[in-house]
Assembly symmetry: C2
Homo-oligomer: 246 residues x 2
């Protein structure tokens, strides 16, 4: 992990951009983080729109995490931002758009082609990010994963024992095979669902919630579309991480 | 409203028992409540098991409300505690038990007979309680309704303009006609659902949530059965009332 820039935000949060095997990322640590008092970590997932475009929302989430005493880290997703495109995923995205515009059902093969390559590639990258960030003396554990493409969160929560709690956003299409992976997840879960999310299948989201193997799982459904998550939903999610990472 | 007893709880909350047209009730006010600083009010709904049996849970909810600066009030439900039995409701309850023990589907006529007489009788009583409690100089508004038989909460939220926010527990069977009443509800809603509630129909609860006319409505689903509501769910509900009654 190579740090490429560093700045102190107005609330004392230290923001460091880095690259890790040519993947750009950002690490935020609260002023309180130190070698003698390492802080827990939240991995900030996000949709595949590019870190630059997501920056304002990510930094707000990182500052909320820092206010609770947590570090936060994120990386560019495969095929996003300035990373090489994933041709198959781009093709699937075009197919999805065509199907939605035509009002025809979105076939499972489109969802698989759109999501699975991203999950296969992204999850090991998040794990490598964990290796790197947790090697810093000012960041300890435990680790939470928050938001972004839900299938990435499901796979990561299922395979990565360092993730002890996950806050997921049921806002993207889910391949059928992910339901089996969801059964392997046992960590506490906090799942957000936008009730009228135009690009999401509400019943599939409820089925996925039902499938998770976790003994503690909570679904928070709110009114509105994909981008209409109310501010208080963020407060509730912060409360979830405060309960499990402290 | 006649006060019949009064005691100061250890956290300074004033607990006063009262009767109102022969209906027993309890009013809790925080130490801060005064004529010059009247406090908002939360009506504490509860299942028809009798105030005495529910007392410990009710006083805990009232103390939580008081800690947020709210008064809380509750009354005995029709047919519960020492109030005269409702023969038709008792009959329906026996029919329900028989159906559940036999594993046969619970017919709509049983649900109607069990719930509708209770709603018809209870809602005007809650409104009379509001008249009485809001006439006290130390209690002002706004008013929230919380918990208990969900159909009572639905009807009260639909017909009583002084109720500006409702926290409902999707834990009891709902007559089909209540879905129409739910469409009339427009106040902010916070709905709790226990995902594995043995006596509840999960899909009907999701349909009822969908039916509410409110622009702000949130569903919090948690694992476990009817009585397994996790403590953090209470915290989230308290946050909901703090947002809307302050």
């Amino acid at each position: 992990m190579q740090f490429t820039s560093e700045q102190r935000l107005e609330d004392g949060v230290l923001e460091r951009k880095f690259t890790l095997d040519e993947i750009p990322g950002i690490l935020w640590t609260p002023e309180s983080a130190s070698t003698s008092a390492p802080v827990p970590l939240i991995l900030l997932g996000h949709p595949p729109l590019g870190l630059n475009r997501m920056y304002a929302r990510l930094v707000a989430r990182a500052q909320r995490a820092a206010a609770d005493g947590f570090a936060a880290a994120t990386i560019e997703l495969p095929g996003s931002g300035e990373r090489p495109r994933l041709a198959a995923v781009d093709q699937a995205r075009a197919d999805l758009r065509r199907a939605m515009e035509a009002g025809t059902p979105v076939g499972e093969e489109i969802i698989d082609a759109l999501v699975l390559p991203l999950v296969d590639k992204a999850v090991p990258e998040w794990q490598a990010t964990l290796d790197a960030v947790l090697s810093l003396p000012e960041v300890g554990g435990p680790v939470g994963y928050s938001g972004g493409v839900i299938s990435i969160g499901v796979r990561l929560a299922a395979v990565e024992p360092r993730v002890v709690a996950a806050g997921l956003f049921a806002g993207s299409l889910v391949p059928r095979t992910m339901f089996e992976e969801a059964r392997q997840v046992t960590v506490p879960l906090h799942v957000l669902l936008q009730w009228d999310d135009e690009g999401n299948d509400r019943q599939a989201s409820l089925d996925l919630f039902d499938a998770f193997g976790s003994k503690e799982k909570t679904l928070h459904a709110n009114m509105g579309g994909h981008t209409g998550v109310p501010q208080f939903a963020g407060e509730d999610a912060a409360g979830f991480f405060a309960r499990h990472l402290k």
